[in-house]
Chain length 201, copies 2
């Protein structure tokens, strides 16, 4: 490949070959795996550390009054509390929507018969292999008792969705994956508001 240059910003990047994978460290919630990879054109190799864990899910649950079910909990990563939408780790073999409804029910006691997938994102393509699914529940109702894990202790609050967006823009909601769900729902919410303003349209 006489004309092949590494520094061509107009060309699609090559896909590196994985030569081997080695477990570097295992914790109960994720593994750190070393991927030994080789650039297919340049031939140079490197070790890349990847955090491998189950897929995640979160759920934007709206009541009939267009309030969002928010939960506040102590988060050990940041050593502080954080207002979020319900979510968690998917179980083996579980479908995203079933997992989202399970987390919603366990954390808040809310259920819904109108659930759909808003989208899916990668928490960090550079170092994490998993996917986070973002679900939307309409007509969420409090029908069940809460069912918290041993370490869970949540404050639950219903907040008008426009206020939830305001919290996000003020930095009071700062979990990246929660912001993603709010972003992907925004066009539908704007359409709904426009219809409410001009019901004959």
């Amino acid at each position: 490949m006489p004309n092949w240059s590494q520094h061509d910003p107009g060309r699609k990047p090559e896909h590196w070959e994985t030569l081997s994978q080695k477990n570097f460290a295992s914790s109960p919630i994720f593994d750190v795996v070393t991927h030994r990879c080789r650039h297919p054109k340049l031939g140079h190799e490197g070790d890349f550390y990847v955090l491998e864990s189950r897929d995640w899910v979160n759920i934007l649950a709206l009541t009939p009054e267009k309030q969002v079910v928010l939960v506040n909990q102590f988060r050990f990563g940041i050593g502080d509390t954080s207002w979020e939408i319900p979510g968690g780790v998917m179980e083996a073999g579980e479908e995203p929507i079933a997992a989202a409804l399970r987390e919603l029910k366990e954390e808040t006691g809310y259920t819904s018969n109108q659930v759909e997938l808003l989208g899916k994102v990668r928490p960090n393509p550079a170092i994490q292999s998993n996917t986070c699914y973002l679900a939307l529940a309409k007509d969420a109702q409090k029908t069940e008792a809460i069912d918290w894990d041993h370490h869970e202790e949540l404050e639950i609050k219903l907040v008008d969705i426009d206020q939830v967006y305001a919290m996000a823009f003020r930095g009071e909601i700062f979990h990246s994956l929660v912001l993603d769900a709010l972003m992907l729902y925004q066009p539908e919410w704007e359409k709904l508001k426009a219809r409410r303003r001009s019901p004959s349209a």
Copy 2:
């Protein structure tokens, strides 16, 4: 505390006390640290695994024509390519805006004299201690040569910002932290578009 119950969804969650921290595993880009924590009221303890790394930054760079500087690169976490805005790891002592401009220049050769902070988010409050700063550069211009790291190989493209939002909603941009930057810029972009439609307003 006779009336204190763990299961009170109307009460603020307690802040756990950190009893000790122990390094569990170190890789070149992050450490996994075990936090031994105790609930201040219930007294029960647990080990919580926290991924500790430097803070991150990304930058939404807009040209005078309202195009976004996008980069596509192979990402080892997902084993695939990903369209993103420029970004990376902040250096020790570096300010967020300086880091954002450095990453923009190194990855794409673009610079800007109009940079501000859009906001900051927590990549994952549950398991990560760091912050990701989101920067906005206006009037970005290609003034420098690209300066890629040994393993970097990027495809660079200018895309109209409305098309960038369309890519996000279609799932073609899926990096959670890139979507956060797009979300936090959206109100300003909508205002700017409204002004362009009614210049006398």
